[in-house]
């Protein structure tokens, strides 16, 4: 439990708007990103999180506990996002849910530092690579549509993405140190065999 969570809860308990501000500063961005994981639409994700914050302020009777604040927020947003998804795509299959559950573990120890690192890395890419990434991740376009739009082959789209990912991974490896390095060493030995 972080002291900030404690502060947020105690401020909201006495209905201080400062509590909302702190909540926003601490959680707005991570929650929007989290909702986008399911919806692939940042605007819609922002709407969901904002609505949720307004509701939270209205229903002051919900006693927020600092111990569970973080998981309460993330689970609520996940459920709201999945409900939205139902509206967008009623054919979504139940088995998808298991797939959607897995990012949670990653997200739980996801740090602001990682946001910054990835954002930095993205800045360094060529304009064309950035365009490809935007089209795929933010506009939800298919490889083929992106290829048509930019006048390149599907294979190029794919390899641009793989290269960007790889850079990011190499960067992460440098940060995460020896264990990951050993893991990839082992990996490359296996592929040599």
């Amino acid at each position: 439990m972080s002291p900030i969570d404690q502060k947020i809860c105690s401020l909201l308990k006495v209905r201080k708007i400062g509590g909302m501000e702190l909540l926003f500063r601490e959680y707005y961005k991570p929650l929007v990103v989290w909702a986008t994981t399911f919806l692939h639409d940042t605007q819609r994700a922002e709407d969901i999180v904002q609505d949720f914050f307004v509701k939270l302020w209205e229903k002051s009777y919900v006693a927020l506990l600092p111990e569970t604040l973080k998981s309460y927020l993330f689970i609520s947003i996940r459920n709201l996002a999945l409900n939205q998804l139902d509206k967008i795509d009623p054919l979504r299959q139940a088995c998808d849910l298991a797939y959607y559950d897995s990012p949670w573990k990653e997200y739980d120890n996801f740090e602001d530092e990682v946001f910054r690192r990835v954002e930095e890395e993205l800045e360094k890419l060529t304009p064309r690579a950035q365009e490809v990434i935007r089209s795929i991740y933010l506009e939800g376009m298919k490889y083929k549509d992106v290829a048509d739009k930019l006048g390149i082959s599907v294979a190029t789209v794919n390899s641009i993405l793989v290269r960007a990912l790889k850079k990011l991974r190499q960067q992460a490896d440098n940060k995460d140190g020896l264990t990951i390095y050993l893991f990839f060493l082992e990996k490359s030995l296996i592929s040599v065999q």
């Binding site: 986008t36 009777y61 993205l122 933010l138 298919k142 960007a164 490359s188």
Partner: protein
């Protein structure tokens, strides 16, 4: 490494849902080949997700003012609601009052301060083993008991006990250092015992407990009302002792109320009520009441929400006698209630109210649904027939 690039391409296409059935099948087969492929898959997924999150994060415009505006709008609506309610009250009570618009401003605005009925707040008096009395308010402080246990008081009205390895007592040690927490009328408090058990204490309540549980049993003594979330320890049963009735606990959440009769409402887990050799086991959603006159313990099924809502900052009344409702309100708002017509005491009413709101909102709605009239003078409430 060409091989790895190929795999990466496939995996990426897999996550982006670009593969056909054959492609997906291929990945599934590859995954089953060895544990290391699965490991690789997970690692790849992690990086893939981080990448995706980074892309999203760049798009988010974090401007609190957008949300603030929407919250403000809410507040304005509530002001109007407050004004409307005040008008109703002025008409019905004849111009005595005022309202509390704490939603709008950070500080409650009171028109005529001394005549407002104030809700209770987090407050208590802690009596240390030395007999020293320490007032608990909204100030953080740290105290130490004579056995070295730290008593930590946080600014949000919470006490917890921390035992350091150095001064942990052995089971043989029989000296017990007891603390007593007294919650006055109009107060409530939150306590974490040294074993991690959490206790919410309602107004007009006393709890007596050792700062460390070193016997075979964990025993606390209660007068008033408290909600317990008992931390599990099969080797050391937890017991709440009320006069000669004991509530034995087996890792559980439950409410004990001794204001009138001794009653226990079980939320989860299991508890038993024991008195003079009798033992009655409660199931979740059941209430056990020890009736002093007959000496029996009666059990009935109940809606637990109405019994434990106080802990979450609500009053919930379900078909409850006015007498009992006013009893509860009095403890929290410090009211004195007078009935001009005694029969009104047994009128049964339902309603909800947030504990930190103006109690008169509830009176207004009661007036609408019953024949009772509520006249408020200072902290006195006079109940009469219309």
């Amino acid at each position: 490494m060409i091989e790895q690039n190929k795999i990466d391409e496939k995996l990426l296409a897999y996550f982006l849902n670009e593969l056909d059935d054959v492609g997906r099948k291929e990945i599934e087969v590859w995954l089953e080949e060895c544990e290391c492929n699965k490991e690789y898959f997970r690692e790849f997924q992690r990086v893939y997700l981080e990448f995706q999150w980074g892309v999203y994060a760049r798009e988010v415009k974090s401007d609190f003012n957008v949300v603030r505006k929407r919250l403000k709008k809410q507040s304005i609506l509530q002001v109007w609601y407050g004004v409307a309610a005040a008008v109703v009250i002025l008409l019905s009570v004849g111009g005595v009052l005022l309202w509390n618009s704490e939603k709008v401003e950070e500080k409650p605005v009171q028109v005529v301060k001394k005549k407002t009925i104030q809700p209770g707040k987090s407050q208590a008096i802690l009596v240390l083993s030395s007999g020293e009395e320490v007032a608990m308010g909204n100030v953080a402080q740290q105290l130490e008991e004579k056995d070295g246990t730290s008593v930590v008081v946080s600014e949000i009205g919470r006490i917890s006990y921390e035992v350091t390895e150095g001064n942990k007592m052995t089971a043989k040690d029989t000296t017990k250092v007891m603390n007593r927490l007294v919650i006055p009328r109009g107060g409530e408090f939150n306590l974490t015992l040294s074993d991690g058990t959490r206790v919410w204490l309602n107004a007009e309540t006393e709890l007596c407990y050792p700062v460390q549980f070193n016997g075979k049993e964990r025993v606390v003594y209660l007068k008033g009302e408290a909600y317990f979330e008992v931390s599990k320890n099969k080797k050391k049963p937890f017991r709440v002792q009320v006069d000669d009735v004991a509530v034995k606990v087996f890792g559980t959440e439950f409410n004990v109320n001794t204001y009138n009769n001794i009653e226990t409402v079980l939320v989860t887990g299991s508890v038993s009520m024991n008195q003079g050799g009798k033992e009655v086991l409660l199931k979740p959603n059941q209430k056990g009441v020890f009736d002093q006159s007959s000496g029996k313990i009666m059990v009935e099924d109940v809606d637990v929400l109405a019994y434990i809502s106080w802990k979450n900052g609500d009053f919930i009344f379900r078909n409850e006698s006015l007498n009992s409702i006013m009893d509860k309100l009095s403890r929290w708002y410090g009211l004195e209630v007078f009935y001009q017509d005694a029969e009104l005491q047994s009128v049964r009413l339902s309603g909800n109210l947030k504990r930190y709101k103006d109690v008169q909102e509830l009176f207004v709605s009661f007036e609408k649904i019953s024949d009772a009239r509520f006249e408020v003078q200072g902290n006195k409430v006079i109940v009469s027939s219309k």
